[in-house]
Symmetry: C2
Subunit: 294 residues, 2 copies
């Protein structure tokens, strides 16, 4: 464990995937959404806010942005519905909350936050939406999440949509946090859940490192990617090497994706095996950096 | 990775918990169920069968036994329903399948097996039951799972029912597999999911080790218990030490439970911090051993 360093930092991703014509056309919009998410998180941290709140703020902005595959604009299931999943974890006490396969809570990351504050860690389907509603979180008809863009994609043969979003933050008190939110994979069967809401697969935070993954979700589950990185860091592996090893492990299963991570000294890692991974970085005292394609 | 050793082995658990009057009264029945499960798995392995099939056979017997908290006889949710979860993983290729919050598939471990043979890894709720039904697996009304014993427990103030079942097996070809099945915690809110169906939390298998956990599920998720053990073993820690460290980590969160594991040489570990963990062990060429209380 490291002592607080005062080096607050934010790293964001908006999914690993190909560089299609759409990403080039929408580059400025995506850049603006990442800038807004980065600004929301960094402003909180700059004012002494908690890493968990900063993660939640950044992910909320990205969920609300309809071109990312989370919240409104999520990839659709075979039946045309949106099923949403998210996870949130605080490193200092490993408090965690997650929801999988929800249909109505406007911001899935907020639902994950409500679970984090309860005795449970993972709530699914209707029970998870009910928990979020009981916590006062805004509910929406499922149509709220369904965009014309994703309806068109559901009918097309474009590459699978895996543009999950995620954030890892370090606050001035030295606390790390991680969060991930997704609509899953385009044309997934209803009930399919990937790595994003699974603590230790797509999302993890402890005293040493915070991790958020994106890509072929099944392979990230089967490699225990996020927990694997944390154990590597615990055994002394530098964060970037640990992240690269996890992606190599994912590749041994014939799969691909990207990972962002942040250690307790504020050292970031942003690694992806795909053509692009829209991402953003802010560290206290430095200018923000944003990359869309590649 | 180890070369095949020919030392086929089976380790089973039926949950970590207290030694109540009930466990003493039902000791012979529980012992007989464990013996039947052990016999089903060891007979398969003795005849050259696969570790995955042996795990499935043992867990099926335990799911069908109404005094264990899985399949028929599962702990009930606040609304009186049974919600079942299970996971299955094969170490040689890390193929994995899991179901969470299902209500109708007679044997949840069979549903996990159907998911393992698909592109998905985790299916939840109605979509998971539909997948199992499509694979030809027997469906039941939810009342099938609800026993008078668990209905009485739901009204009582006895300790939470956490008697998950699990199996880890090594076959003569040197392949490891793990499986876990549960009804969750008595009086859980509908939609709550614990560690059992989560690959890397309650269930894991790779080329070196197979793991199945039981206990306070939320803490096993927050410690990434099973994946943590596998990483320790990868770094050279003996299996029993790795298992004990994971239980210490669970204890740092104020929680408790038990873990069974098996390595590629057939070395078993059965460790629990609770008063009792019904369990069983068979190794090729040796007599089976069964322990109920303690």
């Amino acid at each position: 464990m490291s002592a607080p360093t005062g080096t607050a930092a934010v790293v964001l991703h908006a999914g690993a995937g190909s560089i299609g014509a759409e990403l080039r056309e929408c580059e400025q919009e995506c850049r603006a959404a990442l800038a807004e998410a980065l600004g929301a998180a960094s402003a909180l941290l700059h004012d002494g806010g908690d890493a968990l709140d900063a993660v939640r703020a950044a992910v909320t902005v990205m969920e609300d942005f309809p071109l990312f595959n989370s919240g409104r604009g999520a990839a659709l299931c075979t039946d045309g519905s949106a099923q949403l999943s998210a996870a949130l974890m605080r490193g200092s006490d490993r408090a965690a909350g997650a929801v999988a396969g929800i249909s109505h809570t406007q911001n899935p990351i907020a639902a994950a936050g409500a679970v984090l504050q309860s005795e449970q860690v993972l709530m699914i389907a209707a029970g998870a939406d009910e928990r979020a509603a009981a916590a006062g979180l805004a509910q929406q008809p499922n149509e709220y999440f369904v965009t014309a863009r994703q309806q068109a994609r559901l009918q097309s043969s474009v590459d699978p949509d895996r543009g999950t979003v995620g954030a890892v933050c370090l606050d001035a008190k030295g606390v790390l946090a991680a969060g991930t939110s997704t609509g899953g994979v385009r044309a997934q069967p209803p009930g399919r859940v990937g790595d994003s809401p699974l603590i230790g697969a797509g999302t993890w935070a402890d005293g040493r490192v915070a991790v958020s993954c994106t890509g072929d979700g099944e392979a990230f589950i089967r490699t225990g990617a996020a927990r694997q990185i944390a154990m590597q860091v615990e055994f002394g592996t530098p964060i970037r090497v640990a992240v690269e090893r996890a992606l190599v492990d994912v590749a041994t299963l014939g799969a691909n994706g990207g990972i962002i991570a942040l250690d307790a000294e504020g050292v970031p890692a942003m690694v992806f095996g795909t053509a692009a991974m829209p991402r953003a970085l802010w560290r206290a005292g430095s200018e923000p950096s944003i990359w869309v394609a590649p």
